[in-house]
Symmetry: C2
Subunit: 137 residues, 2 copies
DNA sequence: AATTTAATTCGTAATCATTCTTATTTGAGA
DNA sequence: TCTCAAATAAGAATGATTACGAATTAAATT
């Protein structure tokens, strides 16, 4: 399980500076096992840094996604972010439409359809399942 | 393959009026084998109806999706729409990131993972593959 | 410890997709 | 044709995201 120090270490290696705002952003993600929208991050951080701007939030979210500390997806017209689950390799998610919690799905459909895509150059794919988790049913 | 008259007939059955704008919107979709963004529809229609508003576009796109004449997806932060491919049942798409053209994928991964979701209530899922089609490689 | 430099943040404005509001127009049935 | 609910036009409002100049700060160097 990724922790804040390990993440900051990774950033340092890539040449990014250690800032209080980044620490705080990472803390928030380490605590959560779900996708979070930018505005929720902003709201949370404003407790400690009343003046943070969306610029700071988005710049860091995108940067963290770039270095593969976060992964992102679009939910209900908003970009959402979460810590990469690194305990498993490539995988997908069930996402609860009530509480937002996720469940990992280790099966990846891409393995099953390679033969259907001869002549195509696959760059990316998305497989997500939406519904209610046992606690929210 | 769905044509404009059949589509308008379906709308009539559901109690929706036949309007020139709706005809024109349907025409655009029948001609295209790809996902289209709202603003592209607007641009296209403005040739015939200089005053169309986004309200009209969106209201109709959502209505057409409701009655299952269109299907929609989110691409690059914009909702995109396309005519339902009705020749096949439930299916997914490869989407070319260059030209936007699509290829149907008949395989649905949901069949393979039911046993992983005991206790979960699945409402929906999304499986899309992005890349370059043979013509755009 | 002070200095330097480039990265980062702040504060705010701009942009872009989408939704909303109100007045007006139109399609379809009586 | 007349009537009325449905649909549209025009433009304002909203909400997420991006952009930008000025100020601040981390961290490398002296």
């Amino acid at each position: 399980m990724m922790n804040v120090e390990t993440a900051l270490q990774k950033l340092k290696e890539k040449g990014y500076k250690r800032t209080k705002q980044r620490e705080r952003i990472l803390e928030i993600f380490v605590k959560q096992d779900q996708y979070i929208a930018a505005k929720e991050i902003l709201k949370e951080i404003q407790n400690d840094f009343p003046g943070v701007s969306y610029d700071t939030i988005y710049r860091n979210l995108y940067m963290l996604t770039d270095v593969e500390l976060l992964e992102s997806t679009e939910l209900g017209g908003e970009k959402h972010f979460r810590l990469c689950c690194e305990t498993q390799g490539h995988h997908h998610h069930f996402i609860c439409t009530d509480c937002g919690k996720t469940k990992s799905i280790e099966f990846c459909p891409m393995n099953s359809i390679e033969e259907n895509l001869n002549g195509y150059n696959v760059e990316n794919h998305k497989f997500e399942i939406y519904g209610k988790c046992p606690r929210c049913i």
